[in-house]
Symmetry: C2
């Protein structure tokens, strides 16, 4: 297990957080929801390996560890937000963790966030870190997350730090807006985690900037981290970008895109470089039934890699096009030799126009590979 | 491609059908929905390999084939219901199929339905056929289906024949009631097909029985076929039976069970014989968020293989129990040597009590294996 700590020089009253919507959520989420409304925050204490979800006495354990860290940094435990990721159902090894805290505090440094991004990894294949300068300061974020990824609000562990002086309500507005358009638009496996959170903490060392500038910079950081989470998703062989236009509203556009990237049949076809495009339209038809919206096949248009495959109510397929699409999918596959950091940038692009309105959204997903099954069948071995 | 035909000695006016709810559905579904309301039916014409979905002129193609068969059996094409399964988006090879019809009619026989059950198979590993006697007659059903399995109404191809004289409205009531409790309670991959249908056709040669007796017999046939579909699902290594009790109503019980058996993380854990039971409760928490129902963790009880793993708001886990559950999952795995016909009967039993009402439902699902990914990545190669 890795223990990590984000420590501010001074307690801050400017911070915001979003938490998983999963109704069965971890002790750190229960505590975090409370402490995010408190007056100040000084530190975040993070562990991987054990998520502290559904274990007897989980809240007490997390609070005891925050108190113990607080004693070392002369801060009440209530100013520390705990965060955990890993297996569900087991207790934290509280004594061992407490014993490790003095070493953790001694090791704190100002040499950048890469060690933090590394230390919170579980099945991640590379650290995820993004930084944007805005005004005289900057926004820096790190994230972990590779499986159990389908956020409905905040998911994974995401820690974003900024030195720009922003009001707390501005941070709240910007964070929830950005999470909704970034972390809430990705899916690796459609499973929403019990544990995950996105925190935004502000040291206020640098002058304020206009809220729209801050929000734009924050969105760039969140979008980069969200894309990294998919790119390094468990066993991901292809990243799939679905651009849905022509939906009744943005919410339905995002939901339709999610339905496509979450279809096991679409995911396995992409994994096999098989342009089995019928599965894409089938997933849309299934989605329309599930949410009870109309799907006008005569207005629907679908393109894969810029090649139109469905229009005017039917597919436009021939053998030559099949060969071309198969080659396109092969070229979009992640080169296993190029795994690691920095991340690759290949992706399968799927454009869908529902012809039913102005709603538009972009969703990022992934294929379904042997490797995903292997990692999740053997997660603990 | 296999062509099959179910031919009644005489046209029947007693028949019923349910069809996929997928809004993007195949030409045979569009035609079937119309013909199921017609006065009489004489035959069903079935092909595998090409599903005739979204292909230009698909409805005309299927109608032309029914007309051609009709000419051979002196019956209008409108009395024939077409059914297709296979790849989406491609045209039927109409000329070759028409040329094969005389041979098909010549080969019709009364030697039982096993050849039919075999001939409609695609990725199925064994034929699915169930028969129950009721009154002086019987109900016999065959089914195909191994992937793209999550029915919302009827799914797969299911053909049920009976010689019991029942009224058409009785057949309709019984079929939709039974489908709802059997085929609508199974899932292999959560994908609802574009093509599938369940037909019930009655020759009326034997005396009528009470509707409740007929329904009970029909339900036995449907339940047997539905279970077969899961047991022989693509790459299925474990069948998972989820018994959900204590839901607000039966619909929510079934939906909660589906959420558990459709979670990729639950499915992969079961595949790996890993009693990673946190994923089960996480899937329930995600479900409660998605449908907006409450989940009272203090009332929730979960057992795996008869061993209680969650109660009073937390998990009850220890290393000895882990070993026991791991062994249980291993013992529930399908013995690859025992694949084939007749089907095995092992299953992983998961009992969930939501403690929120009287709603109860049993859902059958499957694990997620390398083999599933392989079959669906290479479906056409």
């Amino acid at each position: 297990m890795n223990l990590s700590c984000i420590l501010l020089d001074e307690p801050s009253s400017a911070f915001a957080g979003v938490f998983t919507n999963n109704r069965f959520c971890g002790a750190p989420i229960l505590i975090g929801r409370r402490r995010i409304r408190a007056e100040r925050v000084r530190a975040v204490l993070i562990n991987n390996r054990v998520a502290n979800v559904g274990a007897p006495g989980g809240v007490e354990d997390a609070e005891a560890l925050c108190d113990a860290l607080g004693a070392l940094i002369s801060e009440p435990g209530e100013s520390i937000i705990p965060a955990s990721t890993g297996i569900i159902g087991w207790k934290l090894p509280v004594r061992e963790m407490r014993d490790a805290l003095p070493q953790l505090v001694k090791g704190l440094h100002r040499d950048g966030a890469l060690p933090l991004a590394r230390s919170i990894m579980t099945t991640d294949s590379y650290p995820k870190i993004h930084m944007v300068e805005v005004g005289e300061g900057r926004i820096l974020g790190v994230a972990k997350g590779a499986g159990m990824i389908e956020p409905h609000m905040g998911t994974m562990l995401v820690f974003i730090m900024t030195d720009i002086r922003m009001q707390r309500e501005q941070l709240n507005r910007c964070l929830s807006g950005c999470v909704d358009k970034t972390f809430n638009r990705i899916s690796v496996d459609g499973d929403q985690s019990t544990s995950d959170m996105a925190l935004l903490i502000c040291s206020a060392a640098k002058p304020q900037v206009a809220e729209e500038d801050f929000r734009a910079a924050l969105q760039t950081v969140c979008a980069g981290l969200a894309e990294d989470v998919v790119r390094n998703g468990e066993g991901v062989g292809h990243v799939i970008k679905v651009d849905v236009a022509g939906a009744a509203d943005e919410y339905l556009a995002a939901a339709a895109g999610k339905a496509v990237v979450n279809s096991p049949l679409v995911k396995t076809a992409v994994f096999g470089n098989d342009p089995n495009v019928g599965r894409i339209v089938s997933a849309l038809g299934d989605f329309a039934d599930t949410v009870g919206c109309t799907l006008d096949l005569n207005k629907l248009r679908v393109s894969l890699g810029g090649v139109e495959i469905f229009a005017d109510g039917c597919f436009e397929l021939d053998t030559e096009k099949e060969v071309r699409l198969n080659r396109y999918l092969e070229q979009c596959a992640i080169d296993p030799a190029a795994r690691g950091f920095p991340a690759h940038d290949r992706q399968v692009v799927l454009e869908i126009d529902l012809g039913a309105g102005q709603g538009r959204a972009e969703v990022l997903g992934a294929d379904l590979s042997y490797q995903y099954v292997k990692e999740n069948a053997d997660y603990r071995s």
